[in-house]
């Protein structure tokens, strides 16, 4: 019962956060230059029509741009929350849902896979590094992990692509090969996808490793100093065994808790990597929408979706933590 209460509370908070985010995003997008009405009317000119002020006004009314800010935000949010409809992009003159289709899921898939890679490296390395007294080995491990952060990911992506092209005569760019581009999802298409997606996953994962490692290291150091560890070592448990048994387990709580923000960090880097690798997923679309085409609706929709997935992941990790650790539940309900 208490757990249900906790979960509901968390869900409510997630929804409130989402609403606030949608307000922030919507406000920002309002400021992106390019008046939708003008753009629509300008396009109509391709078919020979000329623009008058009256046309623009009429278009503004048709698009609902003459409504007050909060009404437009409300409409937008209503459509998003209840109908899953992001409206039309006025630069591309297409429904955003059609434009995005499975592209957002591809981005999310790549980002989550990178997250898994990052922790698959960071957790063992972090725990080991905390205990190891081999300074050289320790240093090398850390150097390798931090290199992921220090090497600019776009440069790394380009270098890998160029080397791959010279050695294997295959350009690792795009999400799918020509054969599967328009095909419906199938096992083969998925394998084709993996054949290319490993590169962004590797690059994003590597660079996320650095931060994950810093977190794990810091937590391990904190935990190691605590009394229960001293107590355990007094009982004669030592070395790796001690490490894995006690502090590692405790350190995992905060790590799980920070997963959502790690996803956030990966989303940060996704557009840049996607740009270089011509991943026609939502990261690259976001870049194009903001930097090249002032496509406010598309940019807003993508930022909102990215944020929503972070909020959702945060919600999930909260629930997971509460399941494992009853202290968390009590913490929230006071």
């Amino acid at each position: 019962m208490r757990f249900l209460q906790f979960a509901l509370m968390r869900a409510l908070m997630a929804v409130i956060t989402l609403m606030t985010v949608s307000l922030v995003v919507f406000t920002l997008m309002e400021f992106v230059p390019a008046d939708c009405a003008e753009r629509y009317v300008a396009f109509k000119q391709t078919s020979g029509q000329n623009i008058t002020e009256a046309d623009i006004q009429a278009e503004r009314v048709r698009l609902g741009l003459d409504q007050p800010f909060f009404v437009r935000w409300g409409t937008w949010m209503g459509n998003v929350f209840f109908r899953g409809d992001f409206g039309d992009s006025c630069i591309l003159r297409q429904s955003i849902n059609d434009l995005l289709k499975d592209k957002f899921w591809i981005s999310l898939g790549i980002a989550l896979a990178s997250l898994v890679v990052a922790y698959a490296i960071a957790v063992p390395v972090g725990i080991y590094a905390a205990a190891s007294h081999n300074a050289f080995f320790n240093g090398t491990l850390r150097l390798m992990s931090y290199l992921g952060l220090a090497l600019p990911n776009f440069l790394l992506a380009l270098v890998v692509v160029l080397i791959w092209a010279t050695v294997f005569d295959d350009l690792l760019i795009g999400i799918f090969s020509a054969e599967y581009r328009d095909a419906p999802w199938s096992v083969d298409k998925f394998l084709d996808f993996l054949g290319r997606a490993w590169l962004p996953i590797f690059i994003l994962g590597w660079s996320a490793t650095a931060f994950a490692l810093q977190t794990v290291r810091a937590l391990m150091l904190d935990e190691q100093g605590k009394l229960y560890v001293t107590a355990a070592s007094a009982r004669g448990i030592s070395g790796q065994k001690l490490l894995w048994r006690y502090p590692a387990r405790h350190a995992m709580g905060p790590v799980i808790n920070s997963l959502g923000f790690d996803l956030n960090r990966i989303f940060n880097e996704l557009p840049v990597v996607a740009l270089i690798l011509v991943l026609t997923e939502s990261g690259a679309m976001l870049f194009e929408a903001l930097a090249r085409s002032n496509d406010q609706q598309l940019a807003g929709a993508i930022i909102f979706l990215l944020t929503a997935s972070i909020v959702f992941l945060n919600f999930l990790t909260d629930i997971a933590l509460a399941l494992i650790d009853p202290r968390v539940r009590r913490g929230l309900l006071g």
Partner: protein, 679 residues
């Protein structure tokens, strides 16, 4: 002498060869067959007579499979019924091709940077031959002008069919003209090229194979229009007419059956309210809906037809009813499929080409990428040709800027001249064009016709930073706030925000110009945008600086006045003076009144189109038009330089292009239908 001897030999041998199969001649080896009326092609009868043979037809062995991929197409008719009774015989350049393969092409995005690839499958009544001066038949087998250039008659091919097997007739031409271009539910305002002396023409269906355009004023350039324009003067009446309320009284009822409110909605869903052949097809507009519709895209006469259309690219298959055959009787096109991929990043396009993943590309390739492209030739197994351009990159000031202070200064011709001489074109040529270009002014016509005084081709192109600064000082464009940059006479800051798309010109050129302008104290910023954004901002009158390629040959100006009348080009090109247009449209009620020279130039181009080409009157008017264009500096020329054309070595029957240009519709003169892929 030798030629006469050979054809004499053919004459004597005639009786014995009457029933022989036709010789597979090529442009490289004509086998002694006399050329026909037009270079590199024959009408079937003429060819059979010339070679004294009877042609046997063959088709793509995969035709049935390809036909099955075209949504809504009925089962394939037998080959004899798929080829017109009067097919066009194309003489291939080097070899009789093999069927099959997929031509891989790159474009920038939906409706952006696509014309290069559109031209590969393009058809029109006529086309320019590869000498870029002879007009030769294509969809029409012939044409006829009346004495005073007011009536143009086209003769169509008997048995010619749309890609779904339905007959193509003169009614399809009239349908295109009357029911699409002159129906405001489809196209709000007809394009100028459809008018003669400002008036609608009368399209007369003489018989199913004869159609006549009757004009209110002479328009000798109208034929050339059909040779170079993207706009195809026919649409499938048998299909689109079903949903067109003017053709079918039950159109709306038909539309409801497939989930639309009105018939016009269906027509526009297919036709896209534009004659461009790359407007989104129903497959892109609404994939789910399109699968329930009779066709995924309307039937065509082109060599290939769309089978998929997404935001990533499009795929096409060969039209099984195409009207051309080669000299051995093989129905064209040879290439079975086409695959167009959208990539907006120049850098990535180059990578794809260097890696040999593109069979042909010219549009959007620019000289600054030359070294990289040349270097990759061997590895990518392709060849690069550097060919002169017709249009050059121009920059123009938005002379009817929304901001009145800016408008006042931009519309001052002294200011424009100062900004033009502030550009160091010689250095631009050295650093970005490897010294291969020529600094030049923009005069509208390109190449420069003989009637233009050569002094205009270099007007205000001589670098003179000191002179530019002196003029700016005199105009009151001085640094008022001490930030190191000049401000508007009012004291408000002046910043030129140069937005450009790489499709319109190399980034290096715009950055160079911005630097030159900063050197004379005018602050300028450079931002790359997508072609889509550039165009809509341009037409919404939101730009400071207009930038794109520009310039047309005389032959095209004769049929199309768009470079000479505000806004000086269409939505897809570089246009300016949007508020003058508004003034003209509303007859002075809104907008800004154009100056006298602009109004004079509008009259001039009309007179130029009506005068007999080459006559003294025509030359005099033409010279005046070029002089005004150069002197007013509505657009400033930069450097005309060659650009790269790339084709894979496996792409056969590819002839070297004369120019790298849009103006003759890119590959259209070089007959992409007879290209084939050596696999």
């Amino acid at each position: 002498m030798k030629k006469i001897l050979l054809s004499g030999a053919a004459f004597f041998a005639l009786p014995g060869m009457a029933l022989a199969a036709c010789p597979p001649i090529t442009v490289a080896n004509m086998g002694g067959i006399a050329p026909g009326e037009f270079p590199q092609q024959y009408e079937l009868g003429a060819f059979q007579d010339a070679a004294s043979c009877t042609m046997e037809f063959k088709g793509n062995p995969d035709a049935a499979a390809l036909n099955a991929k075209i949504q809504g197409n009925p089962d394939l008719l037998p080959l004899a019924e798929r080829i017109p009774e009067e097919p066009l015989v194309m003489v291939p350049y080097d070899s009789i091709g093999q069927y099959g393969g997929t031509l891989r092409a790159l474009s920038n995005a939906t409706e952006a940077g696509t014309s290069d690839f559109l031209s590969v499958r393009h058809v029109n009544f006529v086309r320019f031959s590869d000498d870029l001066s002879t007009i030769v038949p294509n969809i029409a087998k012939g044409w006829d002008w009346n004495e005073d250039f007011t009536q143009l008659t086209f003769f169509l091919r008997k048995g010619h069919k749309w890609s779904d097997g339905a007959p193509f007739t003169a009614d399809d031409v009239k349908f295109w003209y009357d029911n699409l271009n002159f129906d405001e539910n489809v196209i709000a305002k007809p394009k100028d090229f459809l008018l003669a002396g400002g008036e609608k023409m009368n399209v007369v269906v003489v018989d199913p194979q004869t159609v006549r355009f009757e004009m209110a004023a002479p328009k000798p350039g109208f034929l050339a229009h059909f040779a170079n324009s993207y706009s195809q003067p026919f649409q499938p009446k048998h299909f689109l007419g079903t949903y067109h309320p003017a053709i079918n009284p039950d159109a709306d009822a038909e539309a409801k059956k497939i989930g639309f409110e009105t018939g016009y909605e269906v027509v526009n869903f297919y036709h896209g309210q534009s004659d461009w052949t790359d407007t989104p097809t129903p497959m892109l507009r609404d994939l789910e809906k399109s699968t329930a519709m009779p066709f995924a895209t309307q039937p065509t006469l082109e060599s290939h037809i769309y089978i998929t259309d997404t935001t990533e690219g499009r795929k096409l298959v060969a039209n099984p009813y195409f009207h051309q055959v080669d000299t051995a009787g093989n129905q064209l096109p040879y290439i079975s499929e086409q695959d167009e991929l959208y990539i907006n990043e120049n850098e990535v396009r180059i990578l794809k080409i260097v890696n040999g993943e593109v069979d042909y590309k010219s549009q959007s390739l620019q000289l600054p990428s030359g070294p990289q492209l040349l270097e990759g030739q061997e590895k990518g197994d392709y060849t690069v040709h550097l060919k002169p351009t017709i249009a050059q990159v121009v920059v123009g000031f938005n002379i009817t800027h929304e901001d009145e202070a800016k408008r006042a200064i931009f519309s001052n011709v002294d200011f424009r001249k100062a900004m033009s001489v502030a550009i160091n074109r010689a250095e631009m040529n050295e650093t970005t064009y490897f010294g291969l270009g020529t600094p030049s002014a923009y005069i509208g016509f390109s190449p420069t016709p003989a009637f233009v005084d050569p002094k205009w081709t270099t007007y205000a192109t001589e670098f003179d930073a000191a002179g530019a600064m002196a003029t700016l000082d005199a105009l009151g464009v001085k640094d008022a706030d001490g930030d190191g940059f000049r401000d508007l006479p009012s004291g408000d800051p002046l910043v030129l925000n140069i937005q450009f798309a790489t499709q319109g010109g190399p980034a290096a050129v715009y950055e160079f110009i911005a630097q030159n302008w900063k050197d004379v104290g005018i602050n300028a910023t450079v931002k790359e945008v997508t072609p889509d954004e550039y165009r809509s901002a341009q037409s919404a009158n939101k730009l400071d600086i207009i930038s794109w390629g520009k310039g047309q040959p005389v032959a095209i100006v004769l049929g199309n006045n768009e470079l000479w009348v505000p806004p000086y080009e269409n939505y897809f090109g570089s246009r300016n003076a949007m508020l003058w247009v508004k003034w003209l449209e509303t007859e002075g009620a809104e907008g800004v009144e154009p100056p006298a020279w602009a109004k004079d130039m509008m009259d001039d181009v009309e007179a130029f189109q009506q005068a007999a080409p080459g006559s003294d009157t025509s030359n005099e008017i033409g010279a005046r038009m070029a002089a005004t264009m150069a002197e007013q500096l509505v657009f400033m020329g930069t450097v005309s330089a060659p650009n790269p054309i790339v084709h894979r070595n496996a792409l056969k029957n590819f002839t070297e292009f004369k120019t790298w240009s849009y103006e003759y519709y890119r590959t259209y003169p070089y007959r992409a239908t007879q290209w084939w892929l050596d696999q």
